[in-house]
Amino acid sequence: MPNLYSDVLLDHFRNPRNFGSLPAPDIRYETFNPLCGDRIRIEIELSGDAIRAARFQGDGCAISLAAASMLTEMIVGSDITAVEIISREELLSSLKCDIIPARVQCALLPLEALQAGVTLYVTECRR
């Protein structure tokens, strides 16, 4: 793996945290990059509005898998309303390296899946 990736990013890529699936997730959302083929699915188990567990599955590049791994670590224990306001910059900075503009989409794919899933869940709950 080239040196342009941080040790943190490489560690999450090689040893992804929360990789897998949940038996009965409250939120499940999958998204993909139509051109490069990265595909990430996020699953969340709630206790009230609190995120009790998070898992992800997917085939993606080092950046997208590491981002998904970090993201799932970030959100466990927090409220789903907090998930909706996680910023791109917050996730990108957690990767501890400069992601070139052409690859920013890779890092943001898991966040897109997470926020879309949460939005859908909240919308359906409020209906």
Binding site: F32, G37, R39, R41, Q57, D59
Partner: protein, 346 residues
């Protein structure tokens, strides 16, 4: 229906050099239509057709033994110099009561359902038939219980090897040369990655009679328009799809995405299967990096050595079609345990 009554010709044994393997078939219709072949043509086929016409006239099965070296061309050394045994059986396609018609319809249904079967036929009494399934079930008889028992055992072994063959059975009181005809689902090609090489690969594989499955994460690539001949197009997380597929000793796996994000997780799955062939589209350098990464992840070297990378035989392939040809030639060679070298050098 073009023909109502046909002679079904089956190559049941070969000795020496013969152009076709046991199990090769040819059908000769009473109106002259031909389908398939048990040799590669010439005078031998002419004799087979002649004998088939006799079988259709008498409607009785017949065995035929022919030396491929006894033709006129022998003087010039133009023949294969082997001997073949052929079983010719009449079939009335218009008669629902015809036993062979019913038998082969049943076999077709079994194979369509993904099951493997062997039909045992004693060559001295071809009216006897015993069907053996890969799970050990049997149906029919060979005329002696001990022959049935032996046939059940041998049939299962030959199903495993996907090989049709004549074997001498001996029950003490009865002995017989029994032809085991193995029927199994066609080999399957599973391609991960729906790029341009994969389109050529699937097209060529279809011509070779393979069932084809294309897997990709991108719905824009894995389309019916791009893969009109594909039997299945599966879009989703490729490694997850890979875990749900069935791999047998007749499965060829090609990783054609040229992308580690598919190659690494899919290899982790397929290396634990009995797939006959696993090849990865890649340069040598990139391939070594991927295999190195998997080794660091705990995949053992014996498993990694199964991966053909760079993929294909060295035929100087440049275009997608040529690369497809190179890949499938290697896949067939690996499956049949042949070196893939020029026959001239044998």
């Amino acid at each position: 229906m073009i023909e109502k009554r046909v002679a079904m010709v089956t190559l049941v044994a070969t000795r020496g050099t013969a152009p076709k393997k046991e199990g090769a078939k040819m059908w000769v219709g009473e109106n002259g239509h031909l389908l398939g072949s048990v040799t590669i043509g010439g005078c031998v086929d002419a004799r087979v057709i002649q004998a088939s016409e006799q079988v259709l006239a008498s409607f009785q099965p017949q065995m035929l033994s022919m030396s491929l070296g006894e033709e006129d061309a022998w003087e010039g050394g133009f023949t294969c110099a082997g001997t073949i045994d052929i079983l010719i059986e009449p079939v009335d396609l218009a008669n629902p009561e015809d036993r062979l018609r019913s038998l082969y319809r049943s076999l077709r249904d079994e194979v369509a359902g993904g099951r493997c079967v062997a039909v045992a036929t004693p060559l001295d009494h071809p009216a006897y038939k015993l069907i053996v399934w890969d799970d050990g079930r049997v149906l029919g008889e060979l005329g002696a219980p001990e022959l049935d028992r032996q046939a059940q055992e041998i049939g299962r072994e030959l199903i495993q090897k996907r090989t049709s063959r004549t074997i001498a059975l001996d029950s003490g009181r009865a002995s017989s040369d029994v032809f085991f005809e193995v029927h199994a689902p066609p080999p399957t090609l599973i391609v991960f990655g729906a790029g341009h090489v994969s389109t050529a690969l699937v097209s060529l594989a279809k011509n070779l009679g393979l069932k084809t499955i294309v897997v990709d994460g991108r719905p824009r690539f894995a389309t019916k328009e791009r893969f009109p001949e594909a039997d299945e197009l599966l879009v989703g997380i490729p490694s997850e799809i890979a875990r749900g597929l069935r791999y047998t000793s007749s499965t060829y796996v090609v990783l054609a995405a040229h992308d580690y994000k598919y190659d690494i997780p899919v290899l982790k799955t397929v290396l634990n299967t009995e797939a006959a062939y696993i090849g990865m589209l890649s340069s040598k350098r990139r391939g070594e990096a991927i295999l190195g990464f998997l080794a660091e992840s705990g995949v053992d070297m014996q498993a990694l050595n199964r991966v053909r990378v760079p993929i294909g035989l060295d035929i100087g392939a440049i275009t997608a079609s040529e690369i497809a040809l190179s890949i499938l030639a290697e896949a067939v060679a690996v499956k049949t345990k042949r070196p893939g070298t020029p026959l001239k050098n044998r």
